[in-house]
């Protein structure tokens, strides 16, 4: 006897839902503090409807194919809303795998006398629900990744403020490790500020940079060269003794760059360059 899975599921839809709900209600991990029973039922019903509508004998085990886009969308929605409500990924996983138990139970009742078919469908349904489970995990992780990505962007923007210290002098304190992505942001901000303010001197303060290796040094040299191309001078300040040591040990040549130990001395140098003098006022 040939079994049409879609017809069978449609016929037994109510029963499956009941089983599923009962499973969940009986489970210890039910979080009725986070999601009320009515909402849970509505959510489950929506998902089940979509599944029942989509499956047929051919696509049963291809839970990641395009035919299941509707289901995937609902799953993603459930995963995200549950994550926001405070469910752990584990709770969501158990919820989805509960559907498997319900489906299998109905199948067992329906196809009692054909073990071969039963086995076949059991396997395929398992695969299907497993792929649903994977989808929820993926969505969960994707949501997290988006948060991390947004924060990374924010950090790199926050961490490169360009300060106008004097007419014609801008300073940029760098805090944290300098990698190539950040160097690019630093360079862009610095050069743009130089253009915007018409400054002819830029001070790059690296007292907040934990370590300078040859790569970081290269990035610094690039920034200085780019500043010079624009027609401004770039001073690097905040060279700590440890940094001076490593730079020399690594054999990095910074002799073409004006370097100063502190921001104060860099500023003094800058003043001298634009013929400014700072004096104590006479009483």
């Amino acid at each position: 006897m040939k079994v049409e899975i879609s017809k069978l599921l449609q016929k037994k839809r109510k029963q499956i839902l009941e089983h599923w709900m009962n499973n969940q209600l009986a489970n210890d991990s039910l979080r009725d503090d986070l999601l009320g029973n009515d909402d849970l039922r509505a959510q489950s019903e929506e998902l089940l409807d979509a599944v029942v509508k989509t499956v047929n004998n051919q696509n049963l085990e291809h839970g990641l194919s395009a035919e299941f886009d509707d289901v995937t969308e609902i799953l993603a929605g459930i995963s995200i809303s549950r994550a926001r409500q405070g469910f752990s990924p584990r709770d969501t996983g158990i919820y989805i795998f509960g559907l498997k138990d319900a489906l299998l139970k109905v199948l067992q009742d329906e196809i009692k006398n054909d073990p071969q078919t039963l086995y076949d469908f059991t396997l395929r349904i398992s695969k299907l629900v497993d792929s649903f489970g994977i989808t929820t995990f993926e969505t969960f992780i994707k949501g997290r990744e988006e948060v991390i990505l947004r924060q990374t962007d924010e950090i790199s923007e926050i961490s490169t403020p360009v300060i106008r210290v004097w007419d014609g002098i801008v300073a940029l304190p760098i805090i944290g490790t300098l990698d190539s992505a950040r160097t690019q942001v630093v360079m862009e901000n610095l050069l743009q500020q130089i253009v915007d303010t018409g400054s002819s001197i830029a001070i790059l303060d690296i007292s907040g940079v934990p370590a300078v290796d040859s790569l970081v040094a290269q990035h610094l040299i690039k920034t200085v060269s780019a500043t010079r191309l624009m027609g401004a001078e770039c001073i690097i300040s905040g060279i700590r003794p440890e940094i001076a040591q490593t730079v020399v040990h690594l054999g990095i040549d910074l002799s073409n760059i004006v370097t100063k130990a502190s921001l104060a001395s860099a500023l003094k140098y800058a003043f001298a360059m634009i013929n400014l003098e700072v004096r104590k006022s006479q009483k």
Binding site: L149, A181, Q184, E188
Partner: protein, 128 residues
């Protein structure tokens, strides 16, 4: 897009720019991409006697980018490794073209057969 004359270069650059703007590439990366494209088009005209350039928008995971493919039917490059070295040039130029271009883009691929021609493919990711 077919590139046969020097005058084709400017419209080609503008086309690349349009594509880059469409995917929201930052100004610096746009400039890098267009500069790289300009280098490669010049090579194609100078050594390959013109050829074809293809502009495509590509994406990998969350990253969007632009892929440019340049192919000519010129004499080809004998020693690619040497051509990729800074300061090497058979013509009268600075020899920064190929290695410099590689530094400007995210991915760089060159295939060449002597007597058959050269194909260069570059990809610049939106945030790379």
């Amino acid at each position: 897009m077919v590139i046969q004359r020097e005058q084709d270069v400017v419209p080609f650059r503008n086309r690349v720019k349009e594509y880059a703007v469409k995917i929201g590439m930052s100004l610096v990366n746009q400039t890098k991409l267009i500069t790289a494209a300009s280098e490669l088009v010049r090579n194609m005209l100078k050594y390959g006697g013109g050829g074809e350039a293809l502009i495509e928008a590509v994406s990998k995971g969350r990253e969007n980018g632009i892929r440019l493919t340049f192919s000519d039917k010129g004499p080809g490059i004998k020693d690619i490794q040497q051509a990729m070295k800074d300061g090497f040039s058979t013509g009268k130029s600075l020899g920064l073209g190929l290695p410099g271009t590689k530094r400007l883009v995210s991915e760089f691929d060159i295939k060449s057969a002597v007597g058959k021609g050269t194909t260069v493919t570059i990809i610049k990711w939106k945030n790379g």
